[in-house]
């Protein structure tokens, strides 16, 4: 391999891609996250020394597991000699032969190992941001500094957050025996939701944070691919990966030069990533054959309809309305109804859509997008004054400067249109 010596990039890629499986196997062995991480770290250091000379091993993951496991056992022994502690408690009994261990590195084990590793990050007591931070640190192997940048917080604050999250999941204790079918499905659902959170954390970025958070989308796609490779027959996981790809495909067109959000209907569709769209469409097609409808599949189908429209006016709003109705039935939520109202406005006009969202007001009073949509519908109905009130409310609730800036554009336009429509008596 001529690239071996001068180009270490392949080692980085190999170590990154092996990380979830190798770390997950080490976690099963040591049943302690910190020990597993240290063992993996040591194995990576040895790989960096050994692989450039010897070339990559045939199975890098198995190599890392065995080397990491032996290194950690050595380390524990050395510690035990320096400070005689109750040895039986800390030394994992190395009773199995190498062959037995290698035997256990088969796909079925990896599958539940990786699922467990991902599931550990989804502890229900952990707030969403900590789940994401933990997954990025443990599974993806991002550095604390990288994660801190993505969350726009200081490195030591993030370090603390991750340490606390780890302590909490360690206390909670996750079963290490192979899960049964029901438990496996439960874990899959929790992990899928966590991956979607990681994606959204990147996808909702804008302005200054764009460059730092956009990589989270790619990380989420990588995790979804990993999960689908392990569970190739799960239509909802196909749907999840399809959804992420179909949304991420629009990234090159989603922001203007200043980092402001460009609405779907205003995006330059020639900049969408067609390869990603093609893969997303293939996956949703594959998922739908199972006839086991689920929220990720339906959302992916909605994204697919947008992505397939060459121009905004070609969008099949009837199908989108139908799919949102299906989503409402699967996961009833005022937010889904709000999204559906956008499709209904295109199909049946703003009055019908407004009637649809008005009952949501008590539940969505504090929701930025509710007031944004309401303002746009009122504006389309020519009720400029009420639109202004809704837009003002939206700005007050905006989660980011970019969201506020976007609504301000509406307000400016409203003011301008108002000025031309009703000439104000000169002062």
């Amino acid at each position: 391999m001529s690239e071996t010596i001068e180009d270490p990039a392949w080692i980085d890629a190999a170590l990154t891609s092996a990380r979830p499986q190798a770390l997950a196997a080490l976690l099963r062995y040591f049943r302690d996250l910190d020990t597993a991480e240290e063992a993996f770290q040591e194995a990576c250091l040895r790989a960096l020394r050994s692989w450039p000379q010897n070339g990559p091993p045939r199975d890098p993951t198995a190599w890392l597991v065995l080397v990491g496991r032996n290194a950690a056992i050595d380390q524990t022994r050395r510690r035990a000699q320096q400070q005689p502690l109750p040895a039986d408690d800390i030394i994992p009994a190395p009773t199995e032969s190498e062959a037995e261990v290698a035997e256990r590195l088969d796909d079925a084990h990896y599958r539940d190992d990786v699922l467990r590793l991902l599931f550990i990050c989804c502890h229900p007591e952990l707030p969403a941001t900590q789940q994401i931070a933990l997954a990025l640190r443990i599974v993806s192997g991002l550095t604390v500094a990288q994660i801190a940048r993505a969350f726009l917080v200081g490195e030591s604050a993030m370090e603390q957050r991750i340490t606390r999250a780890k302590a909490r999941v360690a206390r909670a204790g996750v079963a290490f025996e192979a899960p049964d079918a029901i438990e496996r499905a439960r874990r899959l659902a929790a992990v899928a939701a966590m991956i979607y959170l990681v994606f959204n954390e990147g996808y909702s970025a804008s302005g200054d944070s764009l460059a730092m958070r956009a990589p989270l989308c790619e990380e989420a796609i990588r995790l979804a691919r990993l999960l689908l490779r392990l569970f190739p027959a799960e239509p909802e996981i196909m749907g999840l990966l399809a959804l992420l790809l179909l949304q991420h495909a629009r990234t090159p067109a989603r922001h203007d030069a200043l980092g402001n959000v460009v609405l779907l209907e205003d995006q330059d569709r020639s900049r969408w990533n067609q390869a990603m769209i093609a893969e997303g469409l293939a996956l949703i097609d594959k998922a739908m054959r199972h006839l086991r409808r689920g929220p990720y599949q339906v959302q992916a189908a909605i994204a697919a309809l947008h992505d397939r429209a060459a121009r905004a006016q070609d969008t099949d709003w009837r199908q989108i309305d139908f799919l949102y109705a299906a989503l409402e039935a699967l996961t009833p939520s005022p937010v889904v109804t709000l999204n559906r109202a956008v499709a209904v406005a295109k199909l049946n006009g703003p009055a019908v859509a407004l009637a649809m969202i008005e009952p949501l007001a008590p539940q969505l009073a504090g929701y930025f997008h509710f007031h944004g949509v309401k303002g746009a519908l009122l504006r389309d109905l020519g009720r400029a004054e009420e639109a202004r009130v809704a837009f003002d409310r939206a700005i007050a609730l905006a989660n980011s400067a970019a969201e506020a800036a976007h609504i301000r554009q509406h307000l400016d336009k409203l003011a301008k249109d108002g000025a031309t429509a009703r000439p104000v008596p000169s002062a």
Partner: protein, 138 residues
């Protein structure tokens, strides 16, 4: 009697088409940075361009990841559709088709027809990410 001379035919008299099948760890390839991916594609592009100019390049295809694959086991009746790539090791890759299909259903239908003509083994159905028809052997 003059000694018999063994005349070896020159390659250009019997041009052969070779398939070069690309194998790699897809998870590792997926970890390439954008810059690395582009660098690899640029290097490959140079090689491909030279081959194309010489009229020696046939179809080039990049497949979607195995997560987009479906496998049709045609060693039983009816043939069995399974999600995921072909993963057995006791069978070998003997050939491939590139077929224009509107959907996975249509691709599976086509694969079933081929399978009825030639039962046994399996077909892996994998959508293409990139396809250039090429001209060698045309």
């Amino acid at each position: 009697m003059p000694p018999r001379v063994l005349v070896v035919p020159q390659p250009q008299e019997f041009p052969l088409l070779y398939a070069i099948l690309c194998y790699h760890d897809e998870a590792a390839v997926a970890c390439w940075s954008k810059a690395e991916e582009e660098a690899v594609m640029a290097r490959l592009g140079v090689v491909q361009e030279t081959l194309a100019k010489q009229g020696r390049l046939g179809p080039v295809a990049r497949l979607m990841p195995t997560t987009a694959a479906t496998t049709l086991r045609k060693d039983r009746e009816p043939a069995l559709v399974m999600d995921g790539p072909f993963a057995e090791t006791k069978e070998q890759l003997l050939g491939f088709y590139i077929v224009d299909c509107a959907s996975l259903d249509e691709a599976l239908e086509t694969a079933r027809e081929l399978g009825q003509a030639n039962p046994g083994g399996a077909y892996e159905i994998r959508p293409l990410l990139l396809y250039r028809p090429g001209s060698a052997g045309a």
